[in-house]
C-alpha cells in the first residue's frame, strides 16, 4: 500500500486552476448531440494522461486509467459525467427571427427575455416576447407557449435551421459560490477530469464523458456496454431547493441542501442504487469526516439509468453536486460542495473493497 500512496500521493484539490477550467467548461456551448466544445476541452486535458483514449460513435469520450502495475484482479469502475446541457434548436424562421424547440427539460416560464448564444459561432440572440405595454393582465397570468416565442438575432446575426442555442450566461465566482449556466453537469465533468488525473491506483478507472444525457442517458448506455465494468457511477448535479417556505412551515421537499456535501442517491425514478455502494460511500464519509447527504428519493434520473442494465447488469450509483436553479440560465453551486464531492468520490474509490460485489445486497 505504501508504494501505491507514494506513486499517487495527492488527492484532488479544487484550486484556482480547477475553477478556471470549470469556467471554460461552463461557458462552452454543448447542447445534447452537439457536445464538441466540451469534448475538445476534455480531450486537451486528458489525452496525455490516459492509458487508453477513444471517442465512440455517439461522441462519448472514453478514457481508461489502468490499475497500478496492471493488476488484473482490480475492479473495473466506470464513472460517467455528461458533457451535454439543455438548450434549444432552431426549427423554422428567417430574417434573424427563429422558432425553436426545447432540447431536454426546460421550464417555459424561464425563457422570455433571456440572452442566448446560437450555433457554432455563438451568435448572440434574445428570446423575445410581447412587451408588457401590449399585453392584458389575463395574458400575463399564463405561461407564454413555445409557439409564440422566438429567438431574435437582431437582423445582424446569421443562423441556420438545426443550429442549437443555449443560455448566454458567463461564469462567475462570487464569494463561496459558483454561478453560471450548465453547472449541470460541467461540475461533474470537471470532477471526473480531476479523478482521471488523480486516478485511484487500486482500480481500473473507465471514465465516460457522455453525450445526450439530458435527452435520456443515451450516451452512457452504449459506453457502459463498451467498457463492461463491474461497477458504474454517475457523477452529476442535482437540484437543491433548500429555501424557506413562504408560510414558515417545514420544507419537506428540498431534494438536497447546499453546503451539506455531495448528494448520494438511494433511488430516483430511473435507478435504485446498489445498497452496497451507498453504504460504502457513506462509510467513507463517516470514516474520513467528509460531508455528504442523501438525496431525497424521488424523481429524476442520471447516466446510472443508462448503465445499470447493460449486459448482465452493473452495480450502479449516482452522486451529485447540489446546485440551485438547475436547467435555468443562472445556476448556483458552492465551491465547498464541489470539493467535497471530488474528495468523497476519490477516497471511496481508493478504499473500494475488493469483495464489495460478493457481499449481501441489503442488510
Amino acid at each position: 500500500m505504501n508504494n501505491i500512496t507514494e506513486a499517487y500521493p495527492v488527492a484532488p484539490v479544487i484550486g484556482a486552476e480547477q475553477i478556471a477550467l470549470l469556467e471554460k467548461l461552463s461557458n462552452a456551448c454543448a447542447v445534447s448531440g452537439d457536445e464538441g466544445e466540451v469534448r475538445a476541452i476534455v480531450s486537451e486535458q486528458l489525452k496525455d494522461v490516459a492509458d487508453e483514449y477513444k471517442i465512440d460513435g455517439l461522441g462519448n469520450v472514453l478514457v481508461t486509467r489502468k490499475a497500478h502495475q496492471g493488476d488484473a484482479r482490480a475492479l473495473k469502475v466506470a464513472v460517467a459525467a455528461h458533457m451535454d446541457e439543455v438548450g434549444f434548436m432552431l426549427v423554422d424562421g428567417e430574417d434573424s427571427l427563429y422558432c425553436f424547440e426545447l432540447i431536454g427539460g426546460i421550464d417555459l416560464r424561464q425563457l422570455p427575455g433571456k440572452s442566448v448564444l446560437v450555433g457554432k459561432n455563438h451568435t448572440p440572440g434574445v428570446i423575445g416576447a410581447r412587451a408588457i405595454h401590449l399585453t392584458t393582465s389575463e395574458e400575463r397570468r399564463n405561461t407564454i407557449p413555445l409557439d409564440a416565442l422566438r429567438i431574435d438575432l437582431g437582423l445582424g446575426g446569421k443562423a441556420k435551421i438545426g443550429d442549437r442555442a443555449t443560455f448566454a450566461t458567463r461564469f462567475q465566482q462570487v464569494g463561496p459560490s459558483l454561478v453560471g449556466k450548465a453547472l449541470d453537469n460541467r461540475l461533474g465533468v470537471a470532477t471526473l477530469i480531476e479523478l482521471v488525473k488523480h486516478a485511484p491506483p487500486n482500480i481500473e478507472l473507465c471514465a465516460i464523458f457522455s453525450t445526450q444525457e439530458e435527452v435520456g442517458a443515451r450516451g452512457a448506455g452504449v459506453a457502459a456496454y463498451y467498457f463492461d465494468p463491474d461497477i458504474a457511477i454517475a457523477v452529476d448535479s442535482t437540484p437543491a431547493y433548500d429555501l424557506p417556505m413562504w408560510d414558515n412551515s417545514e420544507n419537506t421537499q428540498y431534494n438536497t441542501h447546499l453546503e451539506h456535501g455531495p448528494a448520494i442517491y438511494i433511488a430516483d425514478s430511473s435507478t435504485i442504487s446498489d445498497p452496497r455502494l451507498v453504504r460504502h460511500l457513506a462509510q467513507t464519509g463517516d470514516t474520513l469526516n467528509l460531508p455528504y447527504q442523501f438525496r431525497q428519493p424521488g424523481g429524476g434520473g442520471t447516466d446510472a439509468s443508462g448503465m445499470q442494465r447493460r449486459r448482465g447488469g452493473i452495480a450502479s450509483l449516482s452522486i451529485s453536486v447540489p446546485h440551485r436553479y438547475p436547467h435555468t440560465p443562472i445556476q448556483i453551486a458552492r465551491l465547498s460542495d464541489w470539493q467535497a464531492t471530488t474528495s468523497l468520490l476519490y477516497q471511496a474509490l481508493l478504499r473500494l473493497p475488493q469483495d464489495i460485489l460478493t457481499r449481501p445486497l441489503d442488510e
Binding site: E250, I272, V278, G313, A315
Partner: protein, 332 residues
C-alpha cells in the same frame, strides 16, 4: 403449497431490496436445481436440465419484488415523509400499516384535505412509527417499507399483499419441483425491480440468452362490481397472455400454451391486458430478440394491500407449465 405461499407473501421485498425473499426462494429451490447464482442486480438464477437435441434454453421469470414506500424526510416531530416504489395508489395507503426492511413498523397517516372528495397525493401522506421527534425516530431517509398485511386463507380464494408477484414465485418453485424430465435447459429467474420497470429481467435475459422466454405474473380481472371491462375472471383457469401494454406475445407460443392446456384438460382463458407489462417484454427485446409469452394468474385488487387470487388457478398454472415444459417445443 399454501404454506409456501404464506411464507412468500408475508416476506418483505420492495424493489431493490429483495434479499429476504431471495434467501427464502434459494432455500426452497436448492435441492431441485443443478446450479443457483445471484447476479449484480440481485436476480436469483436457477438452472435445471440439459438441452437435448430437440430441446431449447427456456427462461422462466417471476419477480420477487413488490411495490412499497421509501422515506424522503423525517420531520421535526418524527413523522416520515415518503415517496412510492412502483405503482402505489395513494387511495389504498391511508390507515394502512407498513413494515420496513429493518423490521420497524408504522401506520400511514395523511394531512387534512380541503374536501373529502379529494385523494391524498403521496406528498400529503406520512408514516407514523410512534416517534416523538427526529432524535427517537428509528427510520431515516432512504429506508424502504412494504405494506403489512397477514395472509388470509378463504378456502379457494387467497388474499395477501404482494400476491403480485409472490404467487408466481410460488408457481415457479412448484413447477421446478414437479418437473421430472425435460428435453430443455430450464433457467428459472426470480427477478428483481420489475415493479420499477422490468429492470432485473433486462439484465438477466441478456446473460441467460434464451431461445424462448416465459414470464409468470398476475393480471387484472373484470369480474368485480362495476370494474374494468375485461374477459378474465378468478377461478376460470390460468390466463394465457395475448398482449399487454408492452408486449405482443409470440403467437406460436400462445398456440402452444393453448394446446398444452387442452391436452392436459385444464381450464384456461385468453388475456388481453390494455395497460401494464411483465418481465416477458424484457426477454422479448433482449439481444437479437426472443419469442416470449406469459402465463398470468388472475388477481383482484392488484397493487392494493389485499390482492386476491384463486387457488385452483394457481395449481392449474403449475400443471400448465409442467405440461408445456416436459415435452419438446416446436415453434414451427
Amino acid at each position: 403449497m399454501k404454506q409456501l405461499i404464506q411464507k412468500l407473501v408475508e416476506s418483505i421485498g420492495p424493489s431493490g431490496y429483495e434479499t429476504t425473499v431471495r434467501n427464502l426462494v434459494h432455500a426452497e429451490v436448492e435441492k431441485f436445481a443443478n446450479d443457483v447464482s445471484v447476479d449484480a442486480l440481485g436476480n436469483l438464477i436457477v438452472r435445471k436440465g440439459q438441452k437435448a437435441d430437440d430441446g431449447l434454453r427456456i427462461m422462466l421469470a417471476a419477480h420477487m419484488d413488490e411495490i412499497g414506500l421509501i422515506v424522503t424526510h423525517i420531520d421535526e416531530n418524527g413523522f416520515g415523509r415518503v415517496t412510492t416504489i412502483g405503482g402505489v395508489g395513494t387511495r389504498t395507503c391511508l390507515g394502512g400499516r407498513v413494515r420496513f426492511v429493518n423490521g420497524v413498523q408504522g401506520v400511514i397517516g395523511g394531512e387534512r384535505l380541503d374536501s373529502i372528495d379529494k385523494v391524498h397525493s403521496v406528498e400529503q401522506l406520512f408514516i407514523d412509527v410512534g416517534a416523538t421527534g427526529r432524535a427517537d425516530c428509528p427510520i431515516k431517509v432512504g429506508d424502504v417499507a412494504a405494506f403489512e398485511r397477514p395472509f388470509m386463507d378463504l378456502g379457494d380464494r387467497l388474499v395477501a399483499k404482494s400476491m403480485d408477484d409472490r404467487i408466481s414465485v410460488a408457481v415457479l418453485i412448484e413447477t421446478l419441483r414437479q418437473i421430472k424430465t425435460t428435453p430443455h435447459e430450464l433457467v428459472f429467474v426470480f427477478t428483481t425491480q420489475e415493479e420499477v420497470g422490468t429492470r432485473g429481467a433486462e439484465a438477466a435475459a441478456y446473460v441467460v440468452d434464451p431461445d424462448l422466454g416465459i414470464s409468470v405474473d398476475v393480471t387484472l380481472v373484470g369480474d368485480t362490481p362495476k370494474g374494468v371491462r375485461m374477459e378474465v375472471s378468478l377461478g376460470k383457469g390460468p390466463a394465457i397472455k395475448v398482449r399487454d401494454g408492452g408486449m405482443l406475445a409470440d403467437p406460436r407460443l400462445v398456440r402452444l400454451m393453448v394446446e398444452a392446456a387442452e391436452k392436459a384438460g385444464l381450464p384456461y382463458q385468453m388475456e388481453v391486458l390494455e395497460g401494464g407489462t411483465t418481465d416477458a417484454r424484457a426477454m422479448q427485446i433482449t439481444r437479437a430478440g426472443v419469442p416470449a409469452g406469459c402465463v398470468s394468474i388472475p388477481c383482484r385488487y392488484v397493487h392494493s394491500p389485499s390482492e386476491m387470487v384463486d387457488y385452483n388457478d394457481v395449481q392449474n398454472s403449475v400443471k400448465l407449465l409442467v405440461e408445456l415444459l416436459s415435452k419438446p417445443i416446436k415453434l414451427g
